[in-house]
Symmetry: C2
Subunit: 297 residues, 2 copies
């Protein structure tokens, strides 16, 4: 079934017509930073331009949005990187503009669902998606479904406490996985250790080159990511884990460290099956289109 | 539907005929410590004595067993408190002896399912059961089903790492929730701090009396139990939590501390709905009978 998937990001809105996980047509516009009305119009415009290119029969549109979301009300509660998205009634506004079924989904859930159904975990009954970029998010999947949880929080794995009294995160909590092991955390630690501004990329370059300070930072982030994976294996026990997001592209230098750390916190338990995401930045629109298709069943 | 539930414990085997969560008839025998053949015979004997008391039509029998289990093979891999249960083919042996459908379930999953369907969480669509006794176990429930996970590990929440480089647990891992906050951990810490053998009960009595050392130990256990609940709220996001096991009987003195700790690690998130188990020691047989009933659908 042909549906439309939208991925609302801090800089770009991606849109695609998707059938069974395959992108048939796609477009992309800039994300306005001038308030919700403009964001809604930009999303609707991207969708309309695709619908008008021979896809008028599309009956449902999925929107992957940064969270937190109120699924029942169809609202984005706020979006950290998009101005004016407080309490934004995105479902109602897009329904009005596009006259289609609109389905809202957390962006990490959408990307993870795409990997679960069509990407790295397509052969698995259950999987856990972990996206490691500036922050750390995730999603839980059983069968062909997203486990959203009672308040839409399920899969907010970056906010689990793994080191009480550790560094503070953007959520105001100490020692969360995200505050230790996300890209922004690595940049923070490297900048402190080197006494000047360093980004995540340079921190990894210096670690690869064998510089002790950078290597300690990277090892520490990998260790806690491994602790996170081991904890999730004991709590949710998915058939496999899929790691996506920018830091999944660092390669074996980092991923091998994560796998070793996870194994050392899973001694006596079955090994975690850890895989790298396959769909890249397309995962968001493919997953959003998939939840739209599920809504029509 | 009438089914039979068995709860295999370290000292007692409890058996009951159950219909829709209500115990119709029950019996109890001692757990042999003389090897698997005697355990199987004792379980079968308890079941037979109930079947012969007017319940011959029971078609399925559920067995709640300490783990780890191999669900596919119908085996108990080992049971920490029962001798000779290594790789015990419990399903095959009971099928042979009782000529009924035999369903194996982890004991914490069974007790949690009973609370989910008939006890403290009976009004909830999803719940997470946390049993705090000598150790800490748990179970995850959505709809009327146990989430077992890919390797039967789901809900092994006592083994999540919450304090890297913290005290060692029975699983050989440092800083697991169980190693910090279970009954045996409190007894260990109290015995060390007081320089003589203290059990969990005395530690709580001394904490209630305001003794600083005991209070610090109890506060610390409650804090980490709260961290565990907060982590689980962000990972699985159940509608509610049910706390069972011996330590759920300590009362508000302890449970209020746990709730406060959970709230402080859930700032900015919806409050966790934390409830006390209602079915007491009956939960095991009721839940085992429920999984037996589910197997007949």
């Amino acid at each position: 079934m042909k549906t439309l998937g939208l991925d609302l990001g801090g800089t770009k809105i991606a849109a695609a017509v998707v059938s069974d996980g395959k992108i048939l047509d796609a477009t992309r516009v800039e994300t306005p930073q001038t308030g919700f009305a403009d964001v809604a119009e930009a999303i609707a415009g991207a969708a309309r331009s695709l619908l008008e290119r021979g896809h008028e029969e599309v009956a449902a549109i999925g929107v992957g949005s940064p969270g937190p979301l109120d699924y029942k009300a169809g609202k984005v509660l706020f979006a950290p990187n998009i101005a004016g998205m407080e309490n934004a009634p995105i479902v109602a506004e897009l329904e009005r503009r596009l006259d289609r079924v609109i389905v809202l989904e957390n962006d990490a859930n959408a990307a993870g669902l795409a990997e679960h159904l069509y990407g790295a975990a397509r052969d698995l009954e259950s999987s856990l998606y972990m996206t490691i970029s500036t922050g750390i998010g995730g999603g839980l999947f059983i069968g062909d479904r997203v486990i959203r949880g009672a308040h839409g929080l399920a899969g907010e794995i970056g906010h689990m406490t793994v080191l009480p009294w550790g560094p503070i995160g953007g959520d105001g909590l100490l020692g969360t996985l995200e505050a230790i092991a996300a890209g922004r955390s690595i940049a923070r630690d490297a900048s402190y250790a080197y006494g000047r501004d360093l980004d995540t990329r340079e921190a990894f370059e210096r670690a690869r080159a064998g510089e002790m300070k950078a290597l300690e930072i990277v090892d520490n982030a990998a260790r806690f990511t491994g602790i996170g994976i081991a904890n999730l294996a004991k709590i949710f026990d998915p058939e496999g884990f899929v790691i996506g997001g920018g830091m999944s592209q660092v390669g074996p230098f980092y991923l091998d460290r994560i796998a070793r750390a996870a194994a050392s916190y899973l001694r006596g338990y079955p090994d975690a099956d850890i895989r790298i995401a396959e769909l890249g930045t397309d995962a968001g629109v493919i997953g959003a289109a998939a939840v739209a298709a599920q809504s029509l069943r």
